[in-house]
């Protein structure tokens, strides 16, 4: 088995601040994903990466940057936090890209004051 670790678990930021969320996986999976979940809603894809140094935009990439520094890690940056923003950011990984099961981390809960 493996695990996906997201840090931090909780993140409180100020309006306009640049915030970075980190994700590590030890499944040796090729593909990693960042999703955003707003309260009571489904998940929306921000960025994904099919291999080290690869980056693909999802539906919600505006306002975010991402970086796949190595196969096991995928970080997400909120380029300018929006006032009163509150959401959970979920990192996931899968072995490949097609027909592959997703495994999720426990999430990072973001609150912007």
């Amino acid at each position: 088995g493996g695990i996906i670790t997201q840090t931090p678990k909780f993140l409180i930021g100020q309006e306009g601040q640049k915030l970075t969320l980190k994700c590590q996986q030890n499944f040796n999976h090729d593909t990693m994903y960042w999703y955003r979940q707003d309260s009571g809603k489904g998940l929306r894809l921000i960025y994904y990466s099919i291999t080290e140094n690869d980056l693909q935009k999802g539906d919600l990439s505006e306002g975010y940057d991402a970086s796949r520094e190595k196969k096991s890690s995928f970080s997400l940056t909120v380029t300018s936090a929006q006032k009163n923003e509150m959401a959970v950011f979920l990192c996931a990984s899968s072995m490949g890209t097609y027909n592959e099961r997703l495994f999720f981390g426990h999430g990072t809960k973001l609150s912007v004051l």
């Binding site: 097609y98 997703l102 999720f104």
Partner: protein, 111 residues
Amino acid sequence: GDQVEQSPSALSLHEGTDSALRCNFTTTMRSVQWFRQNSRGSLISLFYLASGTKENGRLKSAFDSKERRYSTLHIRDAQLEDSGTYFCAAEAYYGNEKITFGAGTKLTIKP
């Protein structure tokens, strides 16, 4: 537009009853996955299907193998611990590698 439509959006049942959740897809899908999200926000993978049906205890899921445009999740003899929000996520058969999530079904099991 939205590719994955889940129904119902919320469901309240008594213990011991059976239920069925459904996902309709606006396009042909390659695969579907079902997740349960608990009160702490953790997403637990229940099933991954490229076709056919899978069963695990009181849970059973099916993916329409012919048209590949809907999937169902059946919960038999519901228990309190089944409460949570259930999401389906599907990968389109043509196009890029994105997996699209439905908006979820909030299931509440009452004693």
